[in-house]
Amino acid sequence: MTASPSSTTSPSQPPRTIDVFLRYLKAEGVTVVFGIPGGLLYPFFAVIEADPEIELVMTKHEQGAAFMADGYARASRKLSVCAGTSGPGSTNLLTGVACAFADGVPMLVVTGQAASHVLGRGAAQETSREDMDIVAMFRPVTKYSAMVTSPESLARHLRRALRLALTGRPGPVHLNVPVDLWERPLDEAWFDPKTYRPPTHTFDRAAVQQAATALLAAKHPVLFAGAGVGTAAAEEHLRVLAELLPARVATTPRGKGLFPEDHPLSLGVMGFAGHAAARKTLLGSDVDLLFTVGTSLNETATLNWAPALRENRTFLQLDIDADRIGRNYPVDLPLVGDAQTILVEIVYQIHRSIREGARAASRWSIDERVERVHIQEALRDSTQTPVTPQRWRKDLEEALPDDAIVFSDIGGHMLSNIHYLTMRDRQRFFLNLGFGSMGHGTVAPIGAALSQARQPVIAIIGDACFTMNGMELVTAVEYGIPRLVWIVENNNMHGITFHAARQLNSGSLDCVRYSRPLDVAAIARAMGLATWVVDAPGQMQGALREALAASGPSLIEVRVDPNVSPPLGDRVKSISSFVES
């Protein structure tokens, strides 16, 4: 009770429902709420704006609010909050919430509702159960979706929502609150977060011992890391295990960078736009143990569920969600739980075994670097103008700060990001590949930059993503966020669609090319961003350094050769197999 956050009302008055609500948010460490105020959520926003401990970030579109909250939670690994008023304000949030749900991002979504006593009578923007049931709309994309029907039930709903959002595999939760409830008095016993939200860092000791034994005995062990490693903040523990054995490590596209890609044991990315070393090793016959950590082994991570990934090897799968174990491949040894906890336990188990004289049988060596071979390697050194997507990324790596947070959006540029960028030790990489929504990588970085003020945030996006959600850059300008840089790869079209259509020979889809060049830098300048244009080799380094030194957000437009196809081979193959089957 001593550390309870202050209430906005004076002690003599009984607290209002909104005060109790905010007290819970503050106890969970929430300091930012993203959203757009509207009539049926007005009391909520009014109190938050007046609260000195919580910043209200007013976005340009509710989808932006959800994306920003998503970016905030991904970068900080903490709960984020977004809100939209009833009706379109709520449905606009849906895509962003679905992104968070697909990728397991903890987020509290608050939506407005008409007053409780008029529900069912056709109030303006009413979305109650009798009508366009917004709670039902959110149910498939959240871990919990409910309407608060009385002040007394609010705390109960909220605690349940927070418990579900933050335990097990995290995810978004949704509460719909009628407008008249916020101001009502509510006198209720206070629950400290520790008392309603248990830590779920448990593990099965026998399974850990078996895993350690299997890892020690493996001659060619490979660790396959998914984004769950990032959610559990288990990057360094993965690395410790890899170096201890040593084991070679591949990541999924979404897990890119969770293991340093310049590390001698790194195989790079396996799957969608991945690297040859990862594909050949994981699908080859040498590997006798594959330990997947925090990956659901979906299509993009497994090259269309390649059967060779499972053949002739011991298969260990670690996931926080028991529901993902054995979904696509039969598992020899399942490990259900938090990746950090289990990896630490495995390391200690191995340490103990070494103490008793055991030695790791691994034949990999940390002194033997796995060579990275890229598709169209020559284009990385190309001196042509306009610059190739490969070359400017190589230039970018030179200037990319060691602690950069990199976001990728969805499209052709994403394939190049996955394939051609090398993420180093403390750099982080984010991508919403679970749901694959364009615009996420354009807007989520704003939330990330707000949560990690010390780290530079770089969003590498395409021109088509910019046209979808680019208006949200105005929000970044309004809040004057420094060290936030958008790099827009401009080829004047939806590159992935265009080039895939070419390769599939299924019509040219010429509609995805712009009929006139899109001047991204000029648009951004008009929004108030500092801008640079890069169109030749060797320019990116200087542009990025200057952009990072700018006092506010900035944008670098890269005019690339539109004829260079992104590395989309596997994706094209899997789409064509879907169409044929």
Binding site: V240, V344, I350, H351, I354, R355, E356, T383, R426, G538
Partner: protein
């Protein structure tokens, strides 16, 4: 020298080409003679911005003409090694058009003369018309020098010179010099006029012959004019086309050389990058070596301190004998010079004992006595540092080093970096020293204040758990390792060095704790708990007795696990 001689009217830059010609063709001596004659130095012609008066300038021109011999040779001399005369400016001029160069030349006339100025009457894409006014009665020679300067411009690109038409000249009594410049061939009116006259004459002749004038004859002059015009247009067309071709060639060459330069720059950048990479590698190697040297020195220092402490401790025993005996004698000797001598001896031995005490303090305090200056240390960065340090310590050994943080670890800790360094160093060095093979795990975690026995429940602790697979210790050995005497008993390599007692002291100083668990043959685990906020700093212990109680206070021996 007259007053006019001392004014700065013209810059000698104008005469750079002439001076080079004289120097190259007639020898440096000739240039020096001219310079001496005029009252300047020969070096002033070497592209400096030396200014001279009108009279001096005219004199130089006269002497230059004399040296050249003829007016034609003089003009040629004025354009000698023309490209170089512009220095680095010529690269900038590549980007300018003819018109821009003319305009720039008119505008920047003041750079080379303070008495003359241009007035531009007409500036077009194909021609340029300007007047030059001067405050001085300039000679014909000066005008010619100026004309050379104007006409020669395009030769920078290898093009034919500008065609200059002189319309007036100050030397001829006009109030100004007037030039009309064009770089395309001009259409001549002479051929059409001649054609017209010829046609007229023919018509006249035909009319006088036949005496019956017809319309056909009347048209003959017109036909003549048209024919003349056509011929003239054909001529100028050819000339200008040739000129345009030449321009194109030059532009293409420029483009090529620009592309080559670009490629060269990129190649240079690549080389620079490679060079930086190699440099970084070398720096890293050097740093590595230095770190080892520093470690060696550290070890040496520690050995010295422990020797020093051993000596000071050992010296106390004979001193006690001395003092005891002095006291014994003083009790028996009353008065007299013997008593005084004994008193002096006792004072001296007390002084020696105090000095030894100080020596012992200095030797065992390590960083004690130094004022602590706590700073905020980020744990993530600390983990990186420790990972590198432990790797360096076990480099080349059959030891796997693992360093990681857990989510219980605080984000940062407020501590004197030197103290943190010493504690960490001691723990890691110990672990590395007594582990010959196997693995060392350093876990950076946290312990809530409430969980520490006797803790106030306020300050949380950063816990460094160092677990090794070294030889381990017997329980009674564990008790001993913290006592500095244990190390002086056997100063061989297999004693637990001064490091641990120093760690205990430092931990006591900042209010930390140390847990230890060990089993022979299985290894040792240390938990060092450091408060995340620096609280009231305790005074460093100053005697052996205090140290004993300090060990009891700081160190907890945990029961070894049964495995």
């Amino acid at each position: 020298m007259s007053d006019a001689n001392s004014t700065a009217d013209y810059s000698l830059r104008i005469l750079w080409s002439l001076a080079r010609w004289i120097e190259d063709k007639k020898g440096r001596q000739a240039l020096e003679t001219i310079a001496r004659d005029v009252g300047v130095r020969a070096e002033d012609f070497d592209g400096s911005t030396h200014w001279v008066s009108h009279a001096q300038f005219e004199r130089i021109l006269e002497l230059g003409l004399e040296a050249a011999g003829s007016e034609e040779a003089f003009k040629a001399a004025c354009s000698y090694r023309f490209k170089e005369s512009y220095g680095a400016f010529r690269y900038m001029m590549w980007g300018l058009s003819q018109q821009q160069i003319c305009e720039a030349a008119a505008k920047y006339q003041k750079v080379v003369t303070s008495v003359g100025r241009f007035e531009v009457l007409l500036s077009e894409r194909t021609r340029f018309h300007a007047r030059y006014f001067s405050d001085r009665p300039e000679s014909r020679l000066l005008c010619q020098v100026r004309q050379v300067g104007w006409t020669i411009g395009p030769t920078i690109w290898g093009l034919p010179p500008i065609q200059l038409e002189e319309l007036a000249c100050i030397a001829r009594g006009d109030p100004y010099c007037e030039y009309h410049l064009r770089w395309f061939e001009r259409t001549n009116v002479l051929p059409p006029v001649a054609g017209g006259l010829l046609g007229g004459a023919a018509a006249f002749a035909a009319a006088s012959l036949h005496a019956s004038p017809s319309i056909l004859l009347g048209a003959l002059p017109l036909v003549g004019i048209l024919a003349g015009l056509a011929l003239e247009l054909r001529r100028t067309g050819r000339v200008n086309l040739a000129f345009a071709r030449e321009v194109n060639l030059v532009v293409r060459d420029l483009g090529q050389s620009e592309a080559e330069t670009r490629a060269e720059i990129i190649a240079l950048q690549d080389r620079q990058r490679e060079w930086i990479r190699i440099m970084e590698q070398q720096v890293a190697e050097r740093t590595n070596t230095l770190e080892r040297v520093v470690q060696g020195l550290d070890g040496l220092q520690q050995a010295r301190v422990s020797t020093l402490r051993g000596f000071s401790h050992d010296l106390r025993n004979p001193l006690f004998v001395l003092r005891g005996n002095t006291q014994f004698l003083r009790e028996h000797v009353k008065g007299g010079p013997e008593a005084e001598a004994l008193e002096d001896m006792e004072t001296a031995s007390i002084q020696i004992e105090q000095m030894l005490q100080r020596l012992l303090e200095v030797a065992t305090q390590d960083s004690g006595g130094v004022k602590l200056t706590p700073k905020k240390v980020a744990i993530a960065a600390l983990a990186d540092t420790l990972r590198r340090r432990l790797r360096a310590l076990v480099f080349g050994c059959e030891i796997k080093a693992s360093v990681f943080c857990t989510r219980e670890a605080p984000e940062e800790i407020e501590i004197d970096p030197v103290v943190l360094d010493r504690i960490v160093d001691n723990l890691l060095t110990n672990a590395a020293k007594y582990t010959l093979e196997g693995s060392i795990v350093l876990e950076i975690t946290g312990t809530p204040g409430s969980a520490m026995s006797g803790g106030q429940g306020g300050v949380d602790y950063l816990t460094l758990k160092v677990s090794d697979t070294g030889r381990g210790m017997e329980p009674d050995q564990v008790e001993k390792v913290f006592r500095p005497r244990a190390s002086s008993e056997g100063r061989s390599s297999d004693s637990w060095g001064i490091g641990l007692s120093s760690t205990v002291r430092l931990l006591a100083q900042i209010g930390g704790r140390l847990d230890v668990m060990s089993k022979p043959g299985l290894g040792t685990t240390f938990w060092a708990h450091l408060p995340t906020r620096s609280s009231s700093v305790r005074p460093p212990a100053s005697s052996e007795e205090n140290f004993e109680s300090m060990v009891t206070h700081v160190v907890t021996v945990r029961k070894a696990e049964n495995s």
